[in-house]
Symmetry: C2
Subunit: 242 residues, 2 copies
């Protein structure tokens, strides 16, 4: 497994880049910054001139409604470029904030565009990334719209664990779960209190162990079934899913 998070991510989706292409990608000038937990990286309404690649730590994309309710639409982990969209859309329609302390690399849009124009395969790879993000949003809609709290919670856990495994951040069925119950509620469109009660249920059913920020899946098959989780929509290669 490659040691750069971005390449690792792309490889988890079955993409093999030539040495030249890898060099072109990693050779893009990047400005690396450390960001504290619970800080916005970019905010809805911004018109950024660069996108950010997460190197370490975790982030969430979210929107806040005029009535003050927050909805998280995606969790992001190392290797992700959560706001790659902003390279082609002028105004951000979503905010991006850290869940934990993070290290991110900012890449100027011109630079991205130049590399994409020169290497169509890279353009395709990045386009594909954004398409997978879209696929995840679609499944997220289903999760929020058509699953009850217990099933929806099981589903996000499955998704998160699989994504973590794909980039080598989970061993077996154990990994960090870097978000609070309030944040899980914002992801599922339910209240914090209800998250708590539902987590209890998952624990009582012997499906997971969750202590601090450490999640252990005790019964993967039953958790998957409960969450109606089919990883197809993540478009990972078989090896990364297994």
């Amino acid at each position: 497994m490659h040691d750069h998070p971005l390449i690792r991510k792309l490889e988890s989706q079955g993409l093999r880049l030539s040495d030249e292409e890898q060099a072109a990608l990693l050779g893009m000038p990047m400005q690396v910054e450390s960001i504290r937990a619970d800080q916005d990286i970019v905010r809805e309404g911004d018109r950024p001139s660069r996108s950010c690649l997460i190197l370490e730590g975790y982030a969430a994309m979210y929107k806040v409604t005029p009535s003050g309710k927050r909805q998280i639409v995606a969790f992001h982990l190392p290797g992700d470029i959560p706001d790659l969209q902003s390279a082609h859309l002028e105004v951000l329609d979503t905010s991006l904030g850290t869940l934990t302390p993070a290290k991110v690399a900012f890449i100027r849009h011109e630079v991205i565009n130049e590399v994409c124009e020169r290497h169509y395969r890279i353009a395709r790879a990045l386009w594909r990334q954004t398409l997978i993000d879209a696929a995840i949003f679609r499944e997220w809609v289903v999760n929020v719209g058509r699953r009850e709290a217990l099933n929806a919670l099981a589903h996000v856990m499955c998704e998160f664990v699989v994504k973590m495994r794909a980039v080598g951040l989970a061993e077996d069925h154990q990994c960090d779960l870097p978000m609070t119950q309030a944040e899980l509620g914002d992801a599922l469109g339910i209240s914090t209190v209800h998250v708590n009660r539902t987590l209890m249920e998952l624990r009582a059913a012997g499906l997971i162990k969750l202590a601090g920020a450490k999640l252990t899946v005790l019964d993967w098959d039953r958790l998957k079934e409960l969450g109606e989780f089919d990883p197809t929509y993540l478009h990972l290669n078989k090896q990364a899913v297994a």
Copy 2:
């Protein structure tokens, strides 16, 4: 306004293509088919070798959960290429079905890719399309997750009307609303019965008139406010929004 739905759509987002680029786009070989109402065009799990451009009629992207519940994640209208994603993702993770009789043009993925490789500006334009679709999914998550039925219903109505206006299919505040209450329910993640009651409320409040498949917005400002509708996420040019 151009007379081809695809060009009209791209123009509504402020994109101006050169004559050569337009020719390259419209010159792609397409196979036009007529499809009855309530038919699947493509289905989750398929591995299609072509994408479809809607020329006439309306369609919806949806998923069905193992427990049999349906969630619509997007409505599509003429000019849309709902499954453009499949040009870069092998397996479809969502189904696409007609809401009304429709005329669609199928374009082979090779053809799309060839045109994109030759004309980076076209690649960007199509990429951008898929990014806007993703932006719509994000807002859809918010709508389903964090708005109550009344506000959510107002929101989809606003979105639909604005999209219709953008491609010249709505005059003033009147347009077709080509979906049943059951389909609206599947879009909002609520039951048909509840859609009905909520529609009644919108009518009683004097915000809309809805008879048959014809929607008239009686009070745009209040409907927008109730639906917390801010069209930024549609990434249209000002003229198309106004």
